[in-house]
């Protein structure tokens, strides 16, 4: 980067009366001479201060996290069994027709996120079903869940529609964890299945991103799928088949 001629300024003052010294250089050298001891002490002091600060920070970090400890939230993932054929992944582009429309959705057998009790998501049964996939760390899900809760508690939700959620992509080391505490805090009113650590349920429903909503008819066939944040009106339009 630099040439050799630019190499370090002399740390020691030039010998007095040196033949090559100009007036300015001599003055600078004297200045350096006056500053040199201070700078050397300063460098050592800075090093010691930095080392001390780092040690203090490390101790604070260890003590603070040891005191706070890890909250035991119970299991957030359980094995999920898929019965039937998995749905193809939803296309990213809205202009591409969704190949899953009309296909029967698979049955998911797993456990509740809240208490670990056995639960099933069985498509069909004469009632339409809305399956909502959420990830606790996803900011869009964090925005959408309160809206969906509000929507489910409003008259906009069709009375015969079953809503069930799947908490997927769970990771206790991620933000807004554990998912069970988050959904309880948001007063999620319907059953929530815990997806497996391999996201078996999400994969079986062809999840492309979070949040992800799959609407099934009374025969268990896919009516529509969508991913991403939606307003209350958009959710209503989606469920009523008038969106997009």
């Amino acid at each position: 980067v630099s040439t050799k001629s630019k190499k370090p300024a002399p740390r020691r003052p030039a010998p007095p009366g040196g033949s090559s010294s100009t007036k300015t250089e001599a003055a600078r050298s004297n200045q350096n001479a006056a500053r040199a001891p201070k700078r050397r002490i300063g460098g050592v002091t800075i090093g010691l201060i930095i080392a001390a600060v780092v040690v203090v920070i490390a101790v604070v970090a260890v003590v603070a996290t040891r005191q706070s400890g890890n909250t035991s939230a119970g299991a957030q993932t359980y094995p999920v069994t898929v019965t039937g054929t998995a749905l193809p992944t939803m296309p990213d582009s809205t202009s591409t027709p969704d190949p899953a429309i009309g296909l029967p959705a698979p049955t998911l057998t797993g456990q509740s996120l809240f208490d670990g009790s056995a639960m099933k998501i069985v498509p069909g049964g004469g009632h339409p079903t809305l399956v909502v996939f959420v990830a606790h760390w996803c900011p869009h899900c964090q925005h959408e869940v309160p809206l969906l809760v509000q929507w489910m508690n409003s008259s906009q939700k069709p009375a015969d529609l079953n809503v069930v959620a799947v908490s997927t992509a769970n990771d206790l080391s991620d933000v807004n964890s554990p998912a069970s505490a988050w959904l309880k805090r948001e007063n999620w009113p319907t059953p929530v299945m815990a997806d497996s650590s391999n996201n078996t349920a999400a994969n079986a429903f062809g999840l492309p991103g979070y949040p992800y909503l799959v609407l099934l008819d009374g025969n268990g066939k896919v009516v529509a799928r969508t991913s991403g944040e939606m307003t209350l009106d958009q959710v209503t339009s989606f469920v009523n088949g008038t969106s997009k």
Partner: protein
Amino acid sequence: MPTRTFELFFALLALVAIVGVVGLLVARLLAPRSDRAAAVVHTFAGPALPLATLVAATCMAGSLYFSEVAHFIPCTLCWYQRIAMYPLVVILAIAAVRRDHAIRYYVVPLASIGALISLYHYLVEWFPKAETGICSATLPCSLKWFDDVFGFISVPFMALCGFALIISLVTLPSEEIDQ
């Protein structure tokens, strides 16, 4: 040792970096009128290159810890910041050994680009709609890996602090260049 400990450790270092950036800025502004401020500038100007190397190396170590040990997967913007930060470790280390303060002409543009990307990434985290309305099933840049360290410190915030401190250090007056 739990990941939370390292998150807090690096978050506190980021706060120290902010203090360093603001302190150096204030000292430089006051230096012409205050001997004490001038002394602060002079004190840090000497070991500026080793200090900047230390900052870049710490940023790189933190970045590698979060991806390789804590398994926080770096998103696209994280990779762009890495591209700006990692070479700084090498070129600053060489410049520190050679006491080559002219390295600032190479470091400042690189670190500035990194800082701008960090700033954008930080905004994407806080305003996810700047990205899309969807968290990709693969890897979104709006994903905040930790949100409980003082409520505002995330990985791009730490990177921004690192870039800012490196710029502050390498632009300190140097006798070789600024005379």
